[in-house]
């Protein structure tokens, strides 16, 4: 019941100040959507009014409102509960990408589901059993469906394993793990997420791993913050790859990371899950700073104030989302950087898409931080 969500997220503390709506990237372009009004309507008019409103599917769940709310209302959690409620009534958001994502999830539910190890290629070293498990998420799948916009999912997975190998870690890779359920979670499919969580935890436990390394902030968020509530103690520690690398970088005794010169001027897009939900802000910057020859120029809005890449959970990709993406790309271009670095495959995909089909008045290379780091490690030391 939404009543419960109101109690849990402290939505009744709402002072009606409107900071949430003022900060919301969606409200800026779509005046029909307002976090403040959504909360107010739930409190005054009752849950039905909110649950049946198609606008609840417009939220990006970026969490900017949560950051700024003076009453610390957890708006995104409230909205997630409203979506779960809406699902029960048969309402859903618009499924983007011609339902491919939904269809892939259905294939993953088949008992025959196996991901062949061949997607990773020959270079990176992996094992069947290891203390460390690498969870690539849906990189292989995203690599297939977004190839046309130049997104290379496999390259991110390869770079991540190469970096782990460089640290002396040979990770285990599973073939039965499924989607982390992030998008199902944010679109209110709680039962499905519980099912996915159980399968993932069981698949990881079979390899005897003590820690699980992620290169996708959304998978990391799910394992760190959501899975313990759904399936209890995980029995392993979720680690984000950038945290692991930054730790090694700071450890002078271990000899740093051996990064080599890479001449470039880059800017960094903070993924929402990483910066706003998991507070991984300094680590990517420390890593970028450690690459010799690389200059990091920050955008106007960074870290916890960073603008979202404009779309999430594969619901709603409209004119509004495109305008948010163009706004972010314009901001990135204004820094004078030639490369936009991000740490989330979704930011990568969404910004690439906008870069390709919107007029942003310039061109940026978009790349993942792990790919950049792997490139820097492999670079020739003489001149780069």
């Amino acid at each position: 019941m939404l009543r419960e969500a109101v109690d849990k997220t402290k939505a009744y503390y709402c002072l009606d100040c409107g900071i949430c709506t003022g900060s919301c990237p969606v409200s800026r372009y779509d005046p029909r959507y307002s976090p403040r009004l959504t909360v107010e309507r739930a409190l005054i008019l009752g849950e039905k009014d909110v649950v049946c409103d198609p606008e609840i599917w417009s939220c990006l769940t970026c969490g900017t409102c949560n950051q700024r709310c003076p009453s610390t209302v957890d708006y995104t959690a409230f909205l997630r509960a409203a979506r779960a409620e809406a699902r029960q009534l048969g309402e859903t958001g618009l499924c983007t990408h011609a339902e491919k994502i939904e269809a892939y999830l259905e294939l993953q539910m088949l008992p025959t589901y196996r991901r062949p190890a061949s997607w990773l290629g020959r270079g990176p070293k992996t094992r069947k059993r290891s203390d460390t498990y690498y969870f690539p998420g849906c990189l292989a799948f995203l690599g297939v469906i977004f190839r046309e916009i130049g997104f290379e999912g496999n390259a991110i997975g390869r770079a991540a394993v190469e970096l782990l190998n460089h640290l002396g870690i040979v990770p285990a890779i599973g073939d039965t793990e499924v989607c982390c359920g992030h998008d199902a979670y944010w679109t209110g499919e709680v039962d499905r997420v519980r099912d996915l969580a159980k399968r993932n935890v069981a698949a990881i436990k079979r390899t005897g791993a003590k820690r699980v390394v992620f290169s996708c902030p959304e998978c990391y968020y799910m394992f760190r913050q959501v899975y313990p509530d759904l399936v209890g103690n995980l029995g392993f520690e979720p680690v984000f790859i950038l945290n692991l690398l930054a730790e090694r970088l700071a450890d002078a005794k271990a000899g740093g990371l051996g990064l080599k010169t890479l001449e470039a001027k880059v800017t960094y897009q903070d993924p929402c899950r990483l910066a706003k939900y998991d507070r991984v802000i300094a680590e990517p910057r420390a890593l970028l700073g450690a690459i010799p020859g690389l200059e990091l120029v920050e955008m106007k809005r960074t870290a916890r104030d960073a603008l979202c890449c404009g779309s999430s959970s594969w619901v709603s990709c409209s004119r509004v989302n495109k305008r948010i993406q163009v706004e972010r790309l314009t901001e990135a271009l204004a820094t004078g950087a030639g490369t936009l670095v991000t740490a989330c495959p979704k930011c990568n995909i969404h910004l690439r898409c906008a870069m390709r089909d919107q007029d942003v008045g310039g061109s940026l290379e978009i790349t993942d931080l792990v790919v950049l780091l792997a490139r820097s490690m492999a670079a020739e030391s003489a001149g780069g």
């Binding site: 491919k100 269809a103 088949l110």
Partner: protein, 135 residues
């Protein structure tokens, strides 16, 4: 298994095959579509997710589309669906694509036989792949 057939040449070929008394395996469901160029990747994948073991898409020959370029478009759609099947542990040969040159029953017979040859080693119909709904 299912045959997704365009209603122009391929479906007419299947109807002619029925008229000519051509026999083929009984576990085939024919799904008519206006043009194979509008079949989506998700639709093909969901047929497998429902438990089907084989899907054959029958389109018209290149340059022979009633609309514009359905057959050519379908090649790319099937190719993408195959790649996704591959990373889901389903052999990609299970999804076949054949183009029929005309509406004769021989063309249909040839296309189906060629697909069945390609998946012979996969024993379609003899093992239960999934517990999903079956015909």
């Amino acid at each position: 298994m299912a045959i997704v057939a365009c209603t122009w040449h391929p479906l007419t070929a299947i109807e002619n095959a029925a008229r000519d008394g051509v026999t083929y395996r009984p576990d085939v469901a024919v799904v008519p579509t206006k043009c194979t160029g509008v079949v989506t990747v998700a639709f093909l994948l969901k047929l497998f997710a429902k438990g089907l073991e084989g899907v054959l898409v029958l389109g018209c020959a290149d340059g022979d589309c009633h609309y514009y370029n359905g057959g050519e478009r379908c090649k790319a759609i099937v190719e993408e669906a195959r790649e996704i099947l591959e990373i889901s542990g389903i052999p990609k040969q299970r999804l076949g694509f054949q183009q029929v040159a005309n509406s004769t029953s021989e063309e249909f017979d040839k296309a189906l036989k060629s697909y069945l040859k390609q998946v012979k080693h996969l024993n379609i119909g003899r093992n239960r792949v999934a517990s999903g709904s079956r015909r």
